[in-house]
Symmetry: none
DNA sequence: ATTCATAATGAATCCAATA
DNA sequence: ATATTGGATTCATTATGAA
């Protein structure tokens, strides 16, 4: 077992329990199923997996200029049959599911050679697919023979542990803010990994045939993990997941069989400078704010029993009751229930629906909720 | 059995044998497996299939404005389990493979709910996947609860009958000429089917919950079939495949269970005006002839096949071809190649050279490219 | 006729905390 | 475990109606 020492704190994020005796920020050498079986169950927050694609190449491909295409023909990408690939896939997906926390999610990347088998196995094992995400390549390799479309994308599947797992980590507001304030789509555009980022050996040969771009991993980690989280990569390769995790203040556990890849990954990760923690804070929306009981507005003296609230266009009115309910048309209930009732809807956000009058103008009671929250913050 | 009469010739393309006793340009009512089993083996040139997605929706979804999302909850999309869906999938894929010519290919469209199972079944049955193709939607439905990425694409799988089938139909040169002389990628951008193209009933309700855009089918048919070919659609719905096939001079065989869909499809297809045969010729050059794809102007309805383009001083003219090429003086090629040819030059920017007439004035097609670019920018 | 404002809607596996 | 309840959440396009 190798260990990469981080300069950043290894303390877990506030409010998230960390498993005991989990060797963080290390690369485990060996078979990923055996290695995962040695980890505690429900111990990792996210899994990113870039398994063998089972490319089934035969023969050598040449470019139109007769140069040879350096194919991915490594022994670890060879399987005897679809059945053998399926058995391999089920085995590692099952082991991964055991170590994944209930709030955790898994990402698997693949191409049309293997991704359909991976997706079906995910579903068969009880994972619940949240999205498939398309990595559109700005600079894919052409189809040299002109017999197919240029294969210009790869597919990622994002899945939770099971259908019931509703509270998985997803930094929706961060992604939206990063995307010109529109929600992030399922198609992402990135260049392939080349240039200075691509690891080369002494002879100038690429160290790994399928090194993924750090930008892709960065979006994955920013979307589905938080600072301090533990990210597992069972097919670590040359450590893109680890490098990005370290940079983004996440912990990683890598599993890899080939010592040459481990060596390259360790050197690579050691050179990564973690971002300052202040750069890593996430945008949080209203969802993350503490709840405020409507009655606390009355208790704080911001509203008084007997006061009349209306909607923004004064079509409906309701009376504030001392117990924190509203009364309208002889019916009594929460601000939400009564807002829905007068409109004939199933649901309503009473905080933004109901207004009070101040200095001749109508203001939503949501403005008063903010005052209460400010007071809560001041009180610690 | 219903029959739609075409005005175009039903003669097969020269050099391609046509099966005997194959009722062309008709919609067969009934189960697709039984109907395909009644067709002669190796009788169709291409299959396009839009099977049920098995969405597994649960409960009702509301938009933030409390309006209800009109979900696809039709009985035909309900399956008891993944096993039941797999059995259904294998059955129709097997029947489809029997009727497909050795030179034929199959296209299947789906989403992450079903496409992985479809893809695995395709491979298990011996089909050979050529590409997966991503339909990126310019205007997908948002994720209203902010719990996932906006599901902004669907996936098509393109496969040949088996690995040995090397001489499948693929109009590589046409696609390339139509795509600004770079080979067509595996990610395609189209709007969803809405507006005037979307079939509505007397009450203004959509006739079919999942009608596909004609532009998508047009690219599929232009890529993998030739004029006179027979295109089978075992899940015909409201007949997008048939409408596009008729317009592009292909024959179709539709299979559909619901009479209401058949009625809508027949009326729709009857109203389709086939393109002139001269507009449908394909580029066949072996070498590369001379970036918004010119074909996307056609797919977007900004230009129509058969339209005449001229240079700014009306010295030369050319005709827009359905495959996205131009024809002039009996020669056919990209907008750049044809611009260069008429001027006797080595190279030419077809975007600024070729003009179309609008309200009596000539405008460069580059103005239309900007419109398409605006749509691309909107999609990220 | 044109512009602007408002409403409607599309293959969607769409919540979290408390009782 | 289930039931209840608070209250957070949408993008691009088309259709409709007002000015």
């Amino acid at each position: 077992m190798s260990r990469v020492h981080l300069t950043q704190s290894a303390a877990p994020a506030a409010g998230r329990s960390s498993p005991p005796a989990l060797a963080l920020d290390t690369i485990v050498r060996g078979d990923c199923v055996a290695a995962m079986d040695r980890l505690p169950e429900k111990s990792v927050d996210m899994i990113f997996a870039d398994p063998p694609y089972n490319l089934q190449l035969d023969g050598t491909l040449h470019r139109p200029d007769q140069s040879r295409v350096d194919a991915c023909d490594d022994h670890w990408d060879q399987f005897a049959s679809f059945e053998a690939y399926d058995a391999f896939t089920r085995a590692w997906l099952l082991a991964a599911r055991r170590v994944l926390k209930p709030t955790g999610t898994i990402w698997v990347i693949g191409s049309y050679h293997n991704i359909f088998r991976v997706g079906a196995s995910l579903q068969d094992l009880g994972y619940w697919i949240l999205n498939d995400v398309i990595w559109r390549k700005t600079n894919p390799m052409p189809n040299f023979r002109g017999r197919r479309f240029q294969n210009a994308h790869e597919t990622l599947i994002w899945a939770s542990r099971d259908q019931k797992a509703k509270s998985y980590t997803f930094n929706y507001e961060s992604l939206k803010a990063a995307n010109d304030d529109v929600q992030m789509r399922s198609d992402w555009l990135f260049p392939i990994c080349n240039g200075g980022e691509r690891l080369k050996d002494g002879a100038g040969e690429k160290v790994h045939p399928t090194q993924k771009p750090e930008a892709l991993l960065a979006r994955v980690l920013m979307a589905a993990s938080r600072p301090g989280d533990v990210v597992l990569d069972p097919f670590f390769g040359t450590g893109t997941t680890g490098a990005v995790a370290k940079r983004l203040g996440r912990h990683f556990i890598g599993i890899e069989r080939e010592q040459a890849y481990i060596d390259a990954a360790e050197a690579r990760i050691a050179a990564v400078e973690p971002l300052d923690g202040a750069s890593l804070t996430l945008v949080t929306g209203k969802r993350a704010l503490p709840r405020v009981a409507f009655v606390s507005l009355i208790e704080a003296g911001l509203l008084a029993p007997g006061m009349t609230l209306t909607d923004s266009r004064r079509r409906w009115t309701a009376t504030v009751q001392a117990d924190g309910s509203l009364m309208t048309d002889g019916e009594q209930g929460s601000i939400h229930k009564m807002g829905a009732r007068v409109q004939g809807l199933d649901a309503c956000n009473g905080w933004t629906f109901w207004h009070f009058e101040e200095a001749g103008t109508l203001k939503p009671i949501d403005a008063l909720r903010q005052k209460v929250r400010d007071g809560m913050a001041a009180a610690g």
